[in-house]
């Protein structure tokens, strides 16, 4: 018999609504599965068992009484551990916040909880969302459910792995330079980085404020649209939050791709791209062409500079955002500190991991007098050049299509020693954040090691419905995600 937790969010909702299954039963199945499988995957870092069961009972009442009809009511979810959750520790996978229990919730999580979603626990990540492999974490690396010798990607590795391993109905991740899309691609799940401003950042522990964006990781495209329907809303607590006035994210899913134009930037298909990934992407584009879309090569020459611009801007902002961790009001305080200067320096020195320190140093350097213009300011100019190039491309194409990452998942430990090499691989994702655009990753195939490949769709601001519509067509064309996954595991 099929396990409940293998169902998509939509399928689960239909059964819950029909009264064929109960929320508590469903939640217990997920919790049992987490107990069984988390030790090998290590996606959850905090489990909220009692709270989840209480929420499940409450959700069941609201469903049964018809008080709540949201597709998310009663659906077990997991939350990346950089979103504040009232009364539940929020660590950012850092020693700095190992014991931090927020007295407030992030708006995004709050919205989902109010709709009756059940929070199973908090998910592993790279410390303060800095990294591409979920190896920079005090909790030990998250492993890829497809093959535990491989990384899950990062920084939302826990969020992607939990969905791939059916340990959550859906999850939330955050994406500053690819942190939803790359792990989604590595784990064979759907991941969406929304247009900057669509999902409130209030309560999302800031990495780089002008780039950070929360988004869903789901089992399929329909689920992604359903989560977007609930998580997107204007938030007066976030000055950069915007209102969505384009209707339900689900309504265009089945409209097909006929007549749509796809741009393939040459820079996304250069020699850095792994052959297996290239083949799968091109094959998928062919399938879309067969359904009436047109594909054409284009150029985004500025993208070459996306990685340095991204790292300079994100590290600069991070150097300020992470300055508040000083061991005074919350967070790690060095036991050895004898004076105020040592409280600062030692608490931060002990509380932050190596990659975080590296970025703080880089960002501080880029903002310091003498380098501010040459590095930080220059990066902001390059950012505009890249945004303008994308804008011009969208005059010609409905979407930009290409890979999310040059390779499929790599092995644990493989890239840890070479930070620059790790950074360079963000080439296909970072530009999207710089320009504030939406980017959707959908699984589209497997490589010769049977690891998933994701295809990335990039649209103009607020074009999420169009991306989901094409994503849905891809899903239908390459076969459903579950079939693909079975193929992988066979």
């Amino acid at each position: 018999m099929m396990k409940l937790r293998e169902l998509t969010l939509k399928e689960t909702h239909d059964l819950l609504k029909a009264g064929e299954i109960g929320v508590v039963e469903l939640t217990r199945e997920y919790l049992d599965a987490i107990h069984e499988n988390n030790p090998s995957i290590n996606c959850y870092v905090t489990l909220c068992e009692n709270e989840a069961l209480n929420q499940a009972e409450e959700a069941q009442k609201r469903l049964s009484s018809g008080e709540e009809n949201s597709a998310l009511c009663g659906i077990p979810m997991g939350i990346k551990d950089n979103m504040c959750t009232y009364g539940v520790r929020t660590t950012c996978a850092s020693k700095m916040l190992e014991n931090f229990i927020p007295p407030y919730s992030s708006t995004a999580v709050d919205r989902l909880l109010k709709k009756g979603a059940v929070m199973l626990g908090k998910l592993n990540m790279d410390e303060f969302a800095m990294g591409s492999s979920t190896e920079n974490t005090i909790f030990g690396p998250t492993r890829n459910p497809w093959n535990t010798e491989y990384v899950a990607g990062g920084s939302s590795g826990g969020s992607a792995a939990a969905v791939a391993a059916n340990l959550a109905g859906f999850t939330l991740g955050s994406d500053t330079g690819g942190s939803i899309r790359q792990p989604a691609a590595f784990c064979g799940v759907v991941g969406l980085k929304p247009t900057y401003g669509l999902v409130s950042r209030y309560g999302l522990v800031a990495f780089a404020s002008s780039l950070d964006q929360i988004g869903p990781l789901t089992k399929d495209v329909t689920d992604c649209a359903l989560v977007m329907d609930e998580v997107v809303a204007h938030d007066p607590m976030d000055s950069t939050s915007v209102a969505w006035e384009n209707g339900s994210f689900t309504e265009d899913l089945e409209k097909g791709v006929k007549g749509l134009s796809l741009g393939l930037p040459a820079e996304f298909f250069d020699s850095a791209l792994d052959d297996g990934v290239r083949k799968a992407i091109l094959k998928t584009i062919k399938l879309l062409e067969e359904q009436g879309a047109s594909a054409q090569e284009t150029a985004l020459p500025g993208i070459k500079h996306a990685v340095p611009a991204y790292y300079l801007i994100s590290s600069s902002e991070a150097s300020a955002n992470l300055a508040r961790y000083d061991g005074i009001r919350y967070g790690h305080r060095s036991k050895a500190a004898k004076n105020i200067d040592e409280v600062y320096r030692s608490s931060r020195g002990e509380g932050f991991g190596r990659e975080v320190k590296r970025r703080i140093l880089l960002g501080t350097y880029a903002l310091s007098s003498g380098y501010h213009d040459e590095l930080y300011n220059k990066a902001l100019k390059v950012r505009r050049i890249i945004a303008n190039e994308f804008a011009r491309a969208f005059e010609q194409f409905d979407v930009i299509i290409g890979p999310a990452y040059p390779t499929t998942a790599f092995k644990l430990g493989e890239k840890l020693e070479d930070p620059l090499k790790m950074y360079l691989s963000d080439i296909y994702t970072a530009g999207v954040n710089l320009a504030g655009l939406p980017g959707l990753v959908v699984p589209c195939g497997l490589d010769d090691k049977n690891m998933p490949i994701g295809i990335q769709l990039i649209g103009k601001p607020f074009s999420e419905k169009l991306l989901l519509r094409i994503g849905y067509a891809i899903e239908k064309a390459v076969g459903s995600f579950k079939a693909l996954k079975n193929e992988g595991r066979a």
Binding site: Y330, Y344, L362, G436
Partner: protein, 96 residues
């Protein structure tokens, strides 16, 4: 340009980070490599392009001046490593 150990010490001071002697060398090497790479930007002619701080064309997002206050001191101070007399506490600050 070179980010040597001295530069790292200076930036570490500015960012209030203690860095072990044993790590200094490694950070200097990493940063030298990374910043060396980033410097490709400085060679780029960006002409009269304006810096882009925000991607959204938003302006004047303002709050009405209405207090929404509730006293939550206890909750807000729960995470503090050291407190006394309803205050956060740190070792003596000479200048206070």
């Amino acid at each position: 340009m070179a980010t040597d150990v001295e530069t790292i010490k200076k930036i570490a001071q500015l960012s209030a980070l203690s860095i072990n002697e044993s790590e200094l060398e490694g950070f200097a090497k990493d940063l030298d490599m990374i910043i060396g790479y980033m410097e490709q930007l400085s060679k780029l002619d960006t002409g009269d392009v304006k810096p882009m701080e925000h991607v959204l064309p938003l302006h004047n997002v303002l709050r009405e001046d209405v207090p929404t206050h509730v006293n939550r001191r206890e909750e807000l101070m729960n995470n503090a490593p050291e407190t006394a007399n309803e205050c956060f506490m740190v070792p003596s600050v000479v200048d206070a």
